[in-house]
C-alpha cells in the first residue's frame, strides 16, 4: 500500500495543458420489494443474514428466478435515459472469488444489456447544458456487505478478519455506463457532480430507487484520464471506486486531474488501476492494478432464460414515466414566478415538493416561499436539522396562513406559533387556542390601548396630523406592548386615524 503523498498540479494550470476525459459507472439499487433472483425481502438495516434464502447464499442446487418488477424498473431507467431497449437480452455469470459473493460469480449482463445508446442533458449551475451519452444500462445483483474487523482503521489493510452479511446479496442493481465524455474542460468536476445528481434525481422521480447516496443506493465509479491539448489518443485512465456523495464525486475528479497532471509532467506514465477515495483527506490512494483478476470469464447464465421485450410492454412502461425532472423544474419555476436565484435556492434546499404541495393546498407561491425559505429554514438551522425533518408539513403552512388571512393572528405571532408546532405542541389552530394567542380585535380593549398611546405621545400625534403618516408606526409599539403583540396592525392604524378625525 502506498503511503506517500501524491504530487499535485494546480487545477487551473493542469487544465491549460491537458484536456480531461471522463466516464462514469453508476450503480443504482432498485427499491423492489424482493431481490433480483429470489423472494427474499429487499430491506435495508435488518438483522444480518435474516433476509436470505438459499439462492442468496449460493447453496448447491438452487435456481434463480427473475423478478419481473426489477426488469420493468430497468426498462424504465433505460427509457428515461433515452436508451434503446433490447428486443432480446440475457444474463451472464461474472466469475470472481470474494466472500461478498457466495456463488463465486455475480449474475450480470455481458454483451447484451437491456438498455443501450442513450443520452441525458445535464444542466450546469449557470444554465449551460452538456449532453452525456449513455453506453448502456444493464441489470445485475448487489453483493453482500463485508465489515473488516481488527486493525485500527476499519479498512481492510491490517484487518484480522471480516464479517459477512448477505442481506444485500442479490438486491437488484442497474448499472448505468456512460460513453467517454470529452470537452468538459475546467467544468469536469462540476459536470461529474451534476451528472450523478441528475441520475439520482431521475431514479427518484421514477420511484425505482430510494436514491439515498449515504445508504449506497446510488454509487459512482469515476474514470478520469488526461490528454495533451490537441492530442488524438486518450491517456491512460484510473477508476476511482465508490465515490458516494455528490461533493465527493466533484472532489475526486478534481483530485485525479491534479494528480494525473503531476505524474504526466514528471515524465512518468499513469498506471491503469483502481483508486480508493478517502473523504477525510479528500485524496485517492492506489488500489489494485488491472490484472488477471479482471478476466471474469463471462459466460451465459444457463439457469436463466432470455428476456424478450415487446413494443406493447415497452410502451406501457413508457406511459408510467413521470415528467422528466429538468422539464418539471422549468415548468415549476415558470408557474411560481420565482427568479433564477430564488428557484435555485429552493432546489438546493431540497424543498421543491414541499412548496409544490403548499401551493396546491391553497397558498400563493410567494407565501409558500416566504415560510419555507424564511422561518422554517431558520428553525431548521437552529435545530441543526434538515428542513424536511422538522415536522412542519405543507398543511401546517396553509393553516397558519389562513389564520393570518382571517386576521386571527399577525405575522409575528404566526412565527411564534410555528416554533410551537416544531416543538410538538399541535396544529397552529390548537396552539392559538391553547396559548390564547388570537389577535385582540375587540375594539374596546384595542381602543383603550390606542387612547393611552395617543395621550402618551402628543408630539407623534402632531406629526400625524401634519400629514406624516409614517409616524403612526411610533404609536404601534406601545399598542402592541399593551396587547402582548396580539393586535392587528391594520386595525390599529384605522383606529388611530378615526380617533384623530383623519379617517376618510
Amino acid at each position: 500500500m502506498t503511503s506517500h503523498i501524491d504530487e499535485l498540479v494546480d487545477f487551473d494550470v493542469a487544465l491549460e495543458k491537458y484536456d480531461p476525459v471522463l466516464g462514469f459507472e453508476v450503480h443504482v439499487e432498485l427499491n423492489t420489494k424482493t431481490k433480483m433472483f429470489s423472494a427474499a425481502p429487499n430491506v435495508f438495516g435488518d438483522t444480518p443474514n435474516t433476509n436470505v434464502t438459499p439462492v442468496c447464499l449460493g447453496l448447491p442446487g438452487v435456481l434463480p428466478v427473475v423478478n419481473k418488477t426489477a426488469v420493468e424498473y430497468a426498462i424504465m431507467i433505460g427509457l428515461a435515459l433515452n436508451c434503446k431497449i433490447a428486443e432480446r437480452c440475457g444474463f451472464a455469470r461474472k466469475n470472481y472469488f470474494y466472500p461478498d459473493t457466495p456463488k463465486n460469480f455475480q449474475t450480470s449482463q455481458y454483451d447484451d444489456p437491456i438498455a443501450y445508446d442513450g443520452w441525458i442533458d445535464i444542466e450546469l449551475e449557470d444554465g449551460e447544458v452538456f449532453r452525456v451519452e449513455i453506453e448502456r444500462a444493464h441489470m445485475e445483483e448487489d453483493a453482500g456487505k463485508l465489515t473488516h474487523m481488527g486493525g485500527s482503521t476499519g479498512r481492510i489493510q491490517g484487518a484480522d478478519y471480516s464479517l459477512v452479511d448477505y442481506n444485500r446479496s442479490g438486491v437488484p442493481l442497474v448499472e448505468i455506463v456512460t460513453k467517454t465524455i470529452e470537452g468538459a474542460g475546467k467544468r469536469a468536476p462540476e459536470l461529474a457532480k451534476a451528472y450523478v445528481a441528475a441520475i439520482r434525481e431521475i431514479v427518484k422521480a421514477l420511484d425505482v430507487s430510494d436514491a439515498k447516496m449515504e445508504r449506497g443506493n446510488v454509487r459512482c465509479d469515476a474514470n478520469v484520464s488526461l490528454m495533451l491539448k490537441g492530442a488524438e489518443k486518450f491517456g491512460t485512465r484510473t477508476e476511482t471506486k465508490n465515490v458516494n456523495s455528490l461533493r465527493a464525486v466533484e472532489h475526486a475528479v478534481r483530485f485525479e486531474i491534479e494528480r494525473h497532471a503531476a505524474v504526466l509532467n514528471s515524465g512518468a506514465a499513469i498506471v491503469q488501476e483502481t483508486r480508493h477515495w478517502h473523504e477525510d483527506t479528500r485524496t485517492t490512494t492506489s488500489g489494485r492494478p488491472k490484472s488477471d483478476a479482471d478476466d471474469y470469464r463471462y459466460f451465459p447464465e444457463p439457469d436463466l432464460v432470455p428476456v424478450v421485450t415487446t413494443l406493447e410492454w415497452i410502451e406501457e412502461l413508457r406511459s408510467r414515466l413521470p415528467e422528466p425532472p429538468a422539464e418539471r423544474r422549468k415548468r415549476l419555476q415558470a408557474d411560481w414566478g420565482y427568479s433564477d436565484a430564488e428557484f435555485r435556492d429552493v432546489v438546493n434546499a431540497g424543498i421543491t415538493e414541499q412548496i409544490e404541495e403548499t401551493i396546491a393546498a391553497g397558498t400563493t407561491a410567494a407565501v409558500a416561499r416566504k415560510w419555507w425559505m424564511g422561518e422554517i429554514a431558520r428553525l431548521a438551522n437552529a435545530a441543526d436539522k434538515d428542513v424536511i425533518d422538522l415536522g412542519v408539513t405543507p398543511a401546517t403552512i396553509v393553516e397558519l396562513n389562513s389564520l393570518i388571512e382571517a386576521k386571527k393572528i399577525n405575522d409575528k405571532i404566526a412565527r411564534q406559533v410555528l416554533e410551537y408546532v416544531v416543538g410538538g405542541e399541535g396544529t397552529p389552530s390548537e396552539i392559538v387556542e391553547k396559548r390564547s394567542l388570537a389577535v385582540v380585535n375587540d375594539d374596546s380593549a384595542l381602543g383603550a390601548a390606542v387612547d393611552d398611546a395617543i395621550a402618551a405621545m402628543p408630539d407623534v400625534v402632531e406629526k400625524i396630523k401634519a400629514g406624516k403618516m409614517a409616524a403612526i408606526g411610533a404609536l404601534m409599539g406601545p399598542v402592541m406592548k399593551a396587547t402582548r403583540g396580539q393586535a392587528d396592525a391594520g386595525r390599529v392604524r384605522e383606529l388611530v386615524l378615526e380617533k384623530l378625525g383623519l379617517a376618510g
Binding site: 423492489t32 420489494k33 424482493t34 429470489s38 423472494a39 427474499a40 425481502p41 438483522t47 444480518p48 443474514n49 435474516t50 433476509n51 436470505v52 434464502t53 438459499p54 447464499l57 428466478v65 427473475v66 423478478n67 419481473k68 418488477t69 426489477a70 426488469v71 432480446r88 440475457g90 466469475n95 470472481y96 472469488f97 470474494y98 466472500p99 465489515t147 473488516h148 481488527g150 481492510i156 489493510q157 484487518a159 484480522d160 478478519y161 471480516s162 464479517l163 459477512v164 452479511d165 448477505y166 488500489g287 489494485r288 488477471d292 483478476a293 478476466d295 470469464r297 451465459p300 444457463p302 436463466l304 432464460v305 432470455p306 428476456v307 424478450v308
Partner: protein, 98 residues
C-alpha cells in the same frame, strides 16, 4: 497440435484458484484441446445465418412477481458456516481481491 496451449490452461487454473502440477497441466492441455476441437467442429457445421445458442429449450421471460416469500432464519443461514460472530459469517481477512 492442441487448440489450447499449456499457458492457456495454466492461466485458467490460476483464475479458477486451482493448483495444478506440471503433470496435470500436460494432461489437461491435451484433454481440453480435444474438447475445444470438438466444439469447433460444431461451429464449422453451422452456417453464418445460424445464431449462437445459449439455451437448448426455447423458453423466454420466466418471471416471478415481486412478492416476498419464505426466508431462512439467521440460525439456518449460518448452519454450515465454518465460523460466525453473532448472526454474521466470519471469514479470514482477504487482501488479494482488493
Amino acid at each position: 497440435m492442441s487448440a489450447i496451449s499449456r499457458e492457456d490452461v495454466a492461466h485458467l487454473a490460476h483464475l479458477a484458484h486451482i493448483e495444478m502440477s506440471d503433470a496435470e497441466l500436460d494432461k489437461m492441455t491435451g484433454e481440453l484441446g480435444v474438447i475445444v476441437q470438438a466444439i469447433a467442429s460444431v461451429s464449422e457445421a453451422a452456417s453464418a445465418d445460424v445464431p449462437a445458442t445459449t439455451h437448448p429449450i426455447a423458453l423466454t421471460n420466466v418471471f416471478r412477481e415481486d412478492v416476498v416469500g419464505e426466508t431462512l432464519t439467521a440460525e439456518e443461514a449460518l448452519m454450515n458456516a465454518p465460523d460466525s460472530v453473532d448472526t454474521r459469517f466470519r471469514v479470514p481477512a482477504i487482501l488479494d481481491g482488493e
